[in-house]
């Protein structure tokens, strides 16, 4: 697809230190989050939410396309966004485990969205000022969009957590189920354009007041599954990829 942004692409990395694995981590988070959110289309609790989750998915997909296109050009092996999205196996994906987890009930989806947006907002905001102009431009767009995702997840978290006994029970269970997977987001990477380790304080400063306003208990830190950034995923990613990639693999090069 025809996204032409002036770039300072090389074969190993940019002068600003951006590397292919960094871009894949960002792009795969966005791509897999988009695919999961898209599963809600026609199945959300109400029509407005169907539209909302589809629009958030579209924002994530837009960022994913730019990031994967950039990763492919930086790699210099002729892989475009479609090749990277549709023809890699699960071990080659660099997304965090959080985004590949199944949607669960609506509360689990909202918990995932809250935590993802609370991570992506300070990440993209910091990347907006990084020395890699092309990455900074993508982040500058994405951070404005993610701010709206975060607002959306906040409103639902409070509405469900501080709602009925049943919605409170489900939202609390969702937060506890998803919380362990937030630790991986902040795995230190001093070589990254923005070291994720430095974002956890802002993440907590965003999330904890929302949980408090929603009358939810903030889960204790403990079990911290990881491996996504190294290509070691949960079993759920393979099933997601099978569905996402099947048409492209069955009909290589097809267009409509």
């Amino acid at each position: 697809m025809n996204t032409s942004v002036d770039s300072a692409a090389g074969t190993t990395g940019t002068p600003a230190g951006t590397t292919v694995p960094h871009l894949l981590a960002l792009g795969d988070d966005a791509l897999i989050a988009a695919q999961r959110l898209g599963e809600w289309v026609s199945a959300a609790p109400e029509l407005e939410e169907d539209v909302a989750l589809a629009n958030i998915a579209l924002d994530q997909l837009g960022a994913a396309r730019l990031l994967l296109t950039y990763a492919g050009e930086l790699e210099g092996a002729g892989r475009d966004e479609d090749t990277l999205a549709y023809l890699r196996g699960d071990r080659d994906f660099r997304n965090c485990l959080l985004v590949e987890l199944p949607n669960g009930d609506f509360a689990v989806t909202i918990a995932k969205l809250l935590f993802l947006a609370a991570y992506q907002l300070p990440l993209y905001t910091a990347l907006r000022d990084c020395a890699d102009e092309r990455l900074a431009a993508i982040a500058g767009k994405a951070c404005k969009e993610v701010a709206y995702h975060l607002d959306h997840a906040r409103l639902w978290t409070v509405r469900l957590g501080d709602g009925t006994a049943e919605s409170h029970r489900r939202m609390q269970a969702a937060v506890e189920e998803v919380w362990p997977y937030t630790h991986e987001l902040f795995t230190p990477d001093p070589t990254a354009p923005v070291d994720p380790a430095g974002l956890r304080a802002e993440f907590l400063a965003t999330v904890e007041p929302v949980l408090a306003a929603a009358t939810l208990d903030r889960p204790a830190d403990g079990w911290a599954p990881d491996g996504g950034r190294a290509g070691r995923h949960t079993e759920h990613l393979s099933y997601l990829l099978a569905e996402m990639q099947v048409v492209h693999r069955a009909h290589p090069g097809a267009s409509w």
């Binding site: 697809m1 025809n2 996204t3 032409s4 942004v5 407005e48 539209v51 909302a52 589809a54 629009n55 958030i56 579209l58 924002d59 994530q60 997909l61 837009g62 960022a63 396309r65 730019l66 102009e133 900074a136 431009a137 993508i138 500058g140 767009k141 994405a142 404005k144 969009e145 701010a147 709206y148 607002d151 959306h152 906040r154 409103l155 965003t206 007041p209």
Partner: protein
């Protein structure tokens, strides 16, 4: 263009103005009352003096905006119609588009079409999301309510007027 050496400054300026006018008149496929110039996504139109080749620079409203391919095709078609069949359309992402770039005539056209134009894009910093009220484009009252934070396209939300009871689209500040 074939007569490259015959192209004088005056002709380049005339060509630029014609090309610029043709591109500026392209209509946004999802907000049919606005041109891409009204919407603020048209960033530049340049004509190379030597060859007469036109380069158009645009920026998306949202990164995932599905209308971008149609907009690129419409720009190329508009330029082909005024004698520039080989125009290039570039897409840039910085500076990021803001609803503040929608022109005053554009805002008036939106309101006339029943779409409430956006307020200022600068967001008040703070832990609580603050949403300001939106005026009904039909009766002008500020007594309105949000029905859905997302609407028919990536850039809109759905609102309803409590006075005249009409639902309406609102172009969200970004």
């Amino acid at each position: 263009m074939s007569a490259r050496n015959a192209v004088g400054v005056e002709k380049v300026v005339t060509g630029l103005n014609a090309a610029r006018a043709a591109v500026a008149a392209v209509v946004d496929p999802e907000l049919r009352v606005l041109t891409i110039d009204d919407l603020g996504i048209l960033r530049d139109v340049a004509v190379e003096p030597e060859t007469g080749r036109v380069t158009v620079t645009i920026t998306p409203t949202y990164t995932g905006c599905p209308a971008m391919d149609v907009i690129r095709a419409d720009i190329r078609a508009a330029l082909a119609a005024v004698g520039h069949p080989d125009a290039e359309v570039r897409t840039v992402y910085a500076p990021a588009w803001s609803t503040d770039w929608i022109s005053e005539p554009g805002r008036a056209k939106l309101a006339a079409a029943g779409i409430a134009p956006p307020g200022p894009a600068s967001r008040p910093a703070g832990p609580v999301a603050l949403s300001l009220s939106v005026r009904c484009p039909r009766c002008g009252t500020a007594d309105t309510e949000q029905i859905s934070r997302f609407g028919s396209t990536a850039c809109k939300a759905l609102w309803r007027c409590r006075a005249c009871r009409e639902p309406f689209d609102h172009l969200r500040a970004l």
